[in-house]
Assembly symmetry: C2
Homo-oligomer: 394 residues x 2
Amino acid sequence: MFKFEIRQKCEKSAARLGTVYTDHGKIETPGFIFCATKANIKGLTIDKVKEAGTQIILSNTYHLMLQPGSEIIKEAGGLHQFMGWDGPMFTDSGGFQIFSLGYGSIDAEIKGAQLLKGKKTMLALSEAGAKFRSYIDGKIVMLTPELSMRIQHDLGADIVVSFDECTPYHVNKLYTANSMEKSKRWALRSLNELKRIGDGSQALLVVIQGGIYPDLRMESARFANEGDFQGFAIGGCLGKTKSEMYDIVNLTSEMLDKTKYVHLLGIGGIEDIFNGVKCGIDTFDCVTPTRIARHGAAIVKKRELRDNTMKNYMNLNNALFKNDFKPISSSCQCYTCLNFSRAYIHHLLKAKEILSGSLISIHNIYTLNKLMSEIRNSLKTDSLATVYKEWCER
Amino acid sequence: MFKFEIRQKCEKSAARLGTVYTDHGKIETPGFIFCATKANIKGLTIDKVKEAGTQIILSNTYHLMLQPGSEIIKEAGGLHQFMGWDGPMFTDSGGFQIFSLGYGSIDAEIKGAQLLKGKKTMLALSEAGAKFRSYIDGKIVMLTPELSMRIQHDLGADIVVSFDECTPYHVNKLYTANSMEKSKRWALRSLNELKRIGDGSQALLVVIQGGIYPDLRMESARFANEGDFQGFAIGGCLGKTKSEMYDIVNLTSEMLDKTKYVHLLGIGGIEDIFNGVKCGIDTFDCVTPTRIARHGAAIVKKRELRDNTMKNYMNLNNALFKNDFKPISSSCQCYTCLNFSRAYIHHLLKAKEILSGSLISIHNIYTLNKLMSEIRNSLKTDSLATVYKEWCER
């Protein structure tokens, strides 16, 4: 059964140390949730994901409902059994992908980038739900709050999310307000359906919408605080710039009933994590650690970089690493750093060997988990700033 | 230091049980050598290769001399250190790839298929060596017996191979004879160079050429038997059909000094292995187990198949497996079979997730190692036929 316990609150900020209990084990918070989009973390056997210190993973309802279909996963005994993961698991509602893929780009739209031209799969949006075309076989699918809950129930994750319209950036305040109101109604339908079909073992998070408008975020939060949800997931458009995003996350988080668990959807840059933790965010999820790995980028402390960029990742494609026989990070205890050099990974990247992505993914997952563990430790003595300095200053 | 010991000879055939000792451990024979072409087994962390019971791996001189270059690997402390493999290792001479890729196809040409149109990288063949164009950067490279040995010395494998011309199929007997004679001269140059630069820790195998002509194979074997080589590698064109191949392998093997170690280059189908073992072949290598894995084919006993093909592999792309929650093989103890179902792997294949190839590769490697172990056990009681029946009859 889901339970969230706050173990310690900080003095200097809204940060808190907590523990989430689920039927598949606990999650120490602040924590990071890794994306196993299509029932696997790309290129990694699941034991390596676990060995890298992973507490919880996230799979996507949208992808899994289309391939292999939730009925197959249910027949397999649920997603845990199907993919061989015995720890805590999270599924999203499918809303984000329908709307973001539907408008022709994965997440450019929600982040306010120019509307990309691409194959648009979103067909119609109504009070009932969202109609879209399957990218697998072109079949038309109608996803409703009830169906999203039934699918998430079949998948059997420990933490599930209410179905919402993921409001885009380019729309005006009126659209955002109406969309947020619809998401409220959908959240109630989600709650009712899960109560009807579930046994109470799955925790339901309600998504907070309202775009970049404080009053709309406030209304979304008010509704969420009053409902019978086990926690919150801050979603939707958070603005175009980092500073806009930090402002929205901060003010939204402040409005929430902070005795409950708070997840921030789809955000997971190193600096973003520090900001989120200070706002009282308990968990983060993001595809970045494993996606950038497949392109050759390893997450490191800025002072470990060999070039003068201000990023938190080392681009191992760089010819600098051709004969650099040190591990990615000398202090790192991950499988990759204990066994392989930058030169070896550079070679694998040049030779287009997919093992490069697997090895860097292991490092990135381990590193994110290590970062979260250092953050948790620092919160015990209210010294988050020290960890920030260690990771983000040169 | 390399040593080969025959522990038991069979009565019913030329099969024998043996042990190869190297500075990085021993290999029980008959054994299988897995292809880590570009210093990795595609999509697998090296610990998974080891866990699957692998005794020895093979890397390719041709690929590694072009990327990353043998000097980088030497600087890393050798290939063992570079790629994190601490067991026995084999490298080929580069000859096979120069000639097979050079004539416009990977191995179609050597197997007698029609000459494929493609980018031909082979530029000139002379007594000195072979000149070809790098597929990486277009640079012209001249590979000689001496250079091949220097590269293989830098790589530092336990077993290395003399540089030879891998005679194609479409040529006539005169060409094959001249080519075989040239390979003899190149073998002597290889031997001399390795003696000059080496410390005797690397075993040199001489390649037996002569195509499909018994008298030429005889001459190649006579030369090889008289030389100061630690063993033999049967190479070149073995004919167009399975039965032609078995004949050539059989007669070539018979001609060799069978107190020494015999490797069969590039052959590794299940039936081929049984045939080879009966001819006294000690080790096999082939890309098949991992290559077919990436296309969804899992090696199984024929009686485990769900369709009525006569092959030794299960095509997990087949819709049959959509909701088949059994492991690939119920009796298999590999990581994949202990943790995942056919349905899960089928899903990964449909979702184009590269983890499918990794999971099937683990199974295929484990299965080949298991087969070799069963073959070795059967040789103790001269009951190879029983194992053959178990694997190849329905």
